[in-house]
Symmetry: C2
Subunit: 428 residues, 2 copies
């Protein structure tokens, strides 16, 4: 832990600094796999699955039989939990539906805006030791509510060629159209370019390792949109003297256990919290299975004592945390003044894990300070807003001359003429 008491301006700059990115350039490696899949399609994907996931596949799509088997392998208790989480996510995202607007900007000029779902979206869910079925719910549920026609999910198979049953159950609950057994760069390539069995999508969502992130960024330069750039996950906790050291420690550790590069920041106005949190972290840490990872992440954590909540707010807004937990007496007043954060957790009874799984908000959020410019995934992420306009003869009289003047001043005479012809045709 790095400890700061009433930090100076230069210490503040250090506190809000993100780790510099690993300078290893993966571009050439990733580009080669992308190009190979673009050229050779399924065959290339199958070969990379053999090489990277040690899985011998004859086809990529998860079959109906595999879905049926998965239902038998997941406990009823976990299924019920998935269903409740899904229902909450569905409620919150359904409330984000955009009714559209219609405005007569000036007499005879009607403009409107309509939200339309992206037709085909691709979701990426990483493999690894633990199956990230919560991410399946977080991405597929809003995609279905938005009305996306094709919701393709790619996830790496295990070495026996199967997909973790909880992922398949979550995919069915959330309304995924197709689950494909492929991961890594080859999965991103398959969704960006399409193969014989993976449909080409218009936008790719989801987390992944540095190869997956690099692949998403490369394909986003021209072939397909992506949800957002990604860095290590992070939490900022603001605590005052009403906060419980054990709650704070548990919240910091839930971030720290994600990975050794997880970012953990505690800003407190309480000397008591500042002095006791270290011991509390040690105590809880020893009980964690992922103790090794969390310990490394905590080495880079920052614990900051500040004089008041205004100073805490300044740090938070400059840091722009992915997650912000407000364990303070009046979290609402503070939350209303936060301008840079992905998702905010108010009060002592709202741990980050509530939002990670089941409160209903989305857990795909901007990291690395991207909260200054990006939203987390929400219903809009799966839609586009198309604009419309319609002029009547009165509308031509309202803005016709303005269009002519501006077009002429921009030296675009065909633009002007298109309006002049309408003006002439509508003159009495």
């Amino acid at each position: 832990m790095k400890l700061y008491q009433y930090p100076t301006a230069s210490q503040l700059a250090e506190i809000i600094k993100r780790p510099t990115k690993d300078s290893a350039d993966l571009t050439a490696t990733v580009r080669a796999i992308l190009d190979d899949v673009r050229e050779r399609g399924n065959q290339a994907v199958i070969e990379y699955e053999q090489r990277f996931d040690k899985a011998a596949l004859s086809s990529l799509a998860v079959t109906e039989q595999e879905f049926a088997e998965a239902e038998l392998l997941v406990s009823d208790e976990l299924k019920a939990a998935l269903q409740q989480a899904h229902d909450n996510i569905a409620r919150f995202h359904a409330a984000q539906r955009y009714a559209g607007i219609e405005v007569e900007t000036v007499a005879g000029v009607r403009c409107w805006q309509r939200s339309v779902a992206i037709e085909r979206v691709g979701l990426y869910v990483p493999g690894g030791t633990a199956p990230l079925f919560s991410t399946v719910l977080m991405l597929a549920t809003p995609a279905r509510i938005a009305g996306c026609a094709d919701i393709v999910l790619c996830t790496p198979p295990r070495s026996d060629g199967s997909v973790h049953p909880a992922i398949l159950v979550a995919a069915r609950i959330a309304g995924v159209t197709k689950v494909m057994k492929t991961g890594g760069v080859q999965a991103i390539a398959a969704m960006a370019y399409g193969t014989e069995s993976v449909p080409k999508v218009s936008k790719i969502f989801g987390p992944g390792n540095q190869y997956v992130q690099c692949a998403k960024q490369l394909v986003s330069l021209g072939d397909v949109a992506i949800d957002m750039p990604a860095g290590p996950s992070e939490v900022a906790v603001v605590a005052d003297s009403t906060a419980s050291a054990s709650f704070i420690a548990a919240d910091l550790l839930s971030q720290a256990e994600h990975g050794v590069d997880s970012q953990v920041l505690l800003v407190t106005t309480s000397e008591s919290v500042y002095t006791t949190i270290g011991d509390e972290l040690d105590r809880q840490l020893s009980a964690l299975p992922r103790c090794g990872i969390a310990t490394q992440a905590l080495d880079n954590s920052r614990i900051v004592l500040v004089s008041d909540l205004d100073a805490a707010l300044d740090i938070v807004n400059r840091y722009a945390p992915e997650h912000l937990i407000l364990e303070i007496a009046d979290p609402h007043a503070f939350a209303g003044r936060v301008v840079n954060s992905g998702s905010i957790f108010l009060g002592h009874l709202t741990p980050e894990s509530a939002g990670d799984y089941a409160s209903g908000t989305n857990h795909t959020l901007p990291t690395n300070g991207y909260a200054t410019a990006y939203s987390g995934v929400n219903l809009d992420s799966f839609c586009r807003k198309i604009t419309y306009q319609e002029l009547t003869a009165e509308g031509i009289r309202s803005i016709g001359r303005t269009v002519e003047l501006m077009a002429e001043a921009e030296a675009l005479y065909a633009h002007k003429n298109a309006m002049t012809l309408r003006i002439n045709s509508t003159q009495p």
Copy 2:
């Protein structure tokens, strides 16, 4: 012009194809300028302005005196036009304000979403023969309505070191905070990294040549967000037998005059339109100052005769045009079935130039088929949606067990513990 009558499937694929990108790799050139500006700040920008714009600058910011002089140089008639265009843009974008939502997803779990302006945005407005003051209005007006605190506009100076007065007048009308005299890659670098006098922004908007686009894409890989990727501007016109050949030709030409790479597509169900449009284009073309450019763009234009509007709709949705003009008897029925387009112009009296300047909709729109995944610039482009959640003791009882189960199944025990502690603390 390329003519197609009742195209076959393979011809359809050709019709909706975009030009392949110029393979010239600008990355090294652009990267060098970006790095230089990042390192040397203002001094590097001033040197590039001397080299590329032949302008000898001692400082970058447009002064109050220059703004005052600009007011005297723009005619009252054009000022009134700019003001009307601004007012319509303001009305349409103000109507897009997001009231926010609040949902109790399950008993004791309250989730909400609030839209917050991006604090600092950068707008790029290209130079060239004609001043694109309309783009100033289209970008700065929604930025101001969103509530962005800093709205920085960069535009290349003329060789005498001045900025075109119409740009400055438009910037004042729309509420730009600062206008900086710099263009090209050095302008994008200055906004992405900040210099002594150009503030670092969180998101960069605006059109530009291939160097500017390449620079925007490179900085978007980690340093700053951008509005969207860009390709050549394009229009699709759908016309039936009620359409006027002279209106159609004028609309196609307003696209063609933008540049030699402009994309022009006419899909018609009318044999008469199909056979007469060539002559009408030739007639209008000869009167245009930018006749040379338009002629080249028209060489690549596609004129397609289809049997009915369903066939036209299929082409439109697969092409995903930036602009779509519906010169047909019932444009509303057709418009309701379009799923891929940036902005739609309904009926015979709604030329694209209405929306380019003054209807109120935004003219910064997705090209190159990006309309399948991207919206045009709108109020949302200048905001982020932050999510919030708050649990009561009842909320803990509602979802506590679900969070524990899911965290355990994902092998994230600190996540589980953060909830377990809250469950224990709220038990009677």
